[in-house]
Amino acid sequence: MATAVPVDVTERETYLNSGYGIKSWLLTRDHKRIAILYLLSVTLFFFIGGFFALLIRLELLTPAGDLVQSDTYNKLFTMHGQVMVFFFLIPAVPAVLGNFLIPIMIGARDLAFPRINLLSWYLYIAGGLLMVYTILAGGVDTGWTFYTPLSTEFLKTDVITAAIAIFIAGFSSILTGLNFIVTIHRMRAPGMTWDRLPLFVWSHYATSIIQVLGTPVVAITLVLVALERLLHLGIFNPALGGDPLLFQHLFWFYSHPAVYIMILPGMGIVSEIVCCFSRKRIFGYKAMALAVLAIAVLGFLVWAHHMFVAGISVYSALVFSLLSYFVAVPSAVKVFNWTSTMYKGSITYQTPMLYAFGFIGLFTIGGLTGLFLACLGIDVHVTDTYFVVAHFHYVMVGGMVLAYLAGLHFWWPKITGRMYPEGWGKLAALIVFIGFNLTFFPQFILGYMGMPRRYHAYPAEFQVLNVLSTAGATILAVGYLLPMVYFVWSIRYGKPAPANPWNAAGLEWQVPSPPPTSNFEEQPIVTWEAYNYEELGEIPDQQEVPVGH
């Protein structure tokens, strides 16, 4: 099927030309079109969140508070966190790439519940609009974590609308996860057994478990926060007999596993790309599949390591510290197996692979510094310093965002039917990598030296490293804008993509680029194992691919 009958791209019916006009998009139930809707909206929120990051870095260029004062600065880092976490990091990979690819990868015509899929997008947009309203109405300054009683009792900003916005976006996330689990269980093509599933699908399955079982807890917690603020209840307010630590328990019960909602789909992307550009079967398929499930479950057992200095019992802190180390085991299995997959592979260095390299290295640094923080003694020293900020940005930006960019490049030919310019792609990957490290590596040092997070002013001795960080952020911004430009350019001017430009394994490469609305002309029957690269040969040189056949 990879060498399918030549069909002219302009005449063949695809999901893109099957209907025109705004209604054909806003009322669509096609998972591929909904993925495009998500792509546009998460990109918008990424740049809103990025704008706040830019202002934060600009303010931190100098030790004094010259660009903004502390009140505004509190709002900047809060809005940056809330927009990025709830409206970009959590939905981005599952709702864009997962939505587009999972049905095709398992040989289905659509997700199990197309209407619920569209509903998810509308919920996301409803939450997003409420968030935008909150921003325009002056923003919130609770920190992205909504800690009580600060959020419920003392702040004058629009905490309730922000909480409701995230509540609504949470249900979007729950429904996406629910849809994925049912789809993966019920919609697989004949022969697509569990041990033939691409690891991308496995990692989304694990992610969905967290989305379905974790998100409701933060949803009800935010309801309680909103009620407490509205009616002056005392559930989380120590002045009224409540316990603020209970809020933190409930919040982190979701929000720590939420980190795995962000990173697990990224791990799935990297598994696909590492195999393709090493031309090898994944090393230890079963271990890789088990590892994502293990991360999903163990991720629920570690939340109180966010609360070591908050006053929880020392005994439970000990247990949570130990459990936190356990998550490192399956995470390390992933890193070892990617490395082993590359060993003696015939590696080529296309853009997706460059991002995947970046992911593996940066995720490893982010993960290892996580072990520092899981250690009680070190955590006391670096809690609420820039060390923590650097750590989670290594996982979320160095990990998740790089994986997202890797996936976008890898599947861009499939999604749009056009090749992106490879030279520019490599350049952007390099810029992102350099900019990222220059932004966040100095923050490890700053944090270790004791610079606390969430302050707009700092002692002069920290300035050099902060200038480096701001310079890095500027480079990083260029690295993000560049793909924006050439992706948009490629939609019109890019070379038409063949069905399988990378000669990659997986059902999604056996359908035309872009795929037809129903994905498959007839139901595929899978008779091969995942990642059968030894049967596929080399990646064709892009210059020689017979474009449009």
Binding site: F113, V223, I235, L240, S518
Partner: protein
């Protein structure tokens, strides 16, 4: 309506009109809907779980205060409402059965009975809430509480701790009542469609899934009843 019922009796060679395009078989579609509903209920377990966690923590911390506050609730309201909900669960079971047997009128009737029982529950709940308002047991500026710890009659209850009990009481029963209201609305819609003959032995997934939802809401109450009304009365 008549054609629909006839179609159920004849073994259908033609594709069932309720089969959506992206499913291969009806069985696949039905299994997908059922799994989706169960996952939704799992989500609901965790949604209520957050409040159960808060209840557990404060019951541990403020044991005597919770016992005293719990005694102000009227067991009979709770027990009657439990019975009402159990009756409505039975009518839901009978509604699903009627759908499976292609009995349109019986299906509609059992759905209407379910709605009525749901409304009775909400009515009783309303009476209870009204009493709370009158007794100043609603958390907020007008809250007032005087009482002693059940096992230590000389020990005064801290009204702030009692207020937390009532905050959780209203949060949990309120969220439960909200689910009841959604359920009543759901069954209202389904009853109209059932009367119009939309459901048959071939296709009754919405009835079955709404039924699962209703049973789940029943189970939440099965736990709320002892936790809020019963278990702290003597200590």
């Amino acid at each position: 309506m008549a054609t629909n019922e006839a179609a159920a009796i004849v073994p259908h060679e033609e594709p069932n009109p309720a089969l959506l395009h992206h499913f291969v078989t009806e069985e696949q579609q039905k299994n997908a809907a059922s799994l989706g509903m169960w996952l939704f209920l799992a989500q609901e377990v965790m949604f209520f779980g957050g409040m159960f966690c808060a209840y557990l923590v404060y019951r541990y911390k403020y044991f005597g205060d919770f016992g005293s506050a719990s005694q102000t609730l009227n067991i009979w309201y709770g027990a009657i409402n439990t019975a009402v909900l159990l009756c409505s669960s039975l009518t839901v079971v009978l509604a699903v059965r009627a759908a499976q047997l292609n009995k349109r009128k019986a299906l509609t009737m059992w759905l209407v009975f379910t709605i009525l029982l749901g409304l009775v529950f909400l009515g009783v709940k309303g009476i209870e809430y009204k009493e709370k308002f009158e007794n100043h047991h609603v958390p907020g500026p007008s809250f007032a509480y005087h009482g002693t710890v059940p096992s230590h009659p000389d020990q005064q209850v801290n009204p702030r701790h009692a207020e937390i009990y009532f905050s959780l009481y209203f949060a949990m029963t309120g969220m439960h009542a909200l689910h009841m209201i959604i359920g009543v609305g759901l069954f209202g819609t389904l009853a109209v469609w059932a009367w119009r003959g939309k459901y048959s032995a071939n296709y009754y997934t919405p009835i079955e899934n709404a039924g699962l939802y209703w049973h789940f809401v029943d189970i939440v109450w099965i736990y709320l009843f002892p936790l809020l009304y019963l278990i702290d009365r003597h200590r």
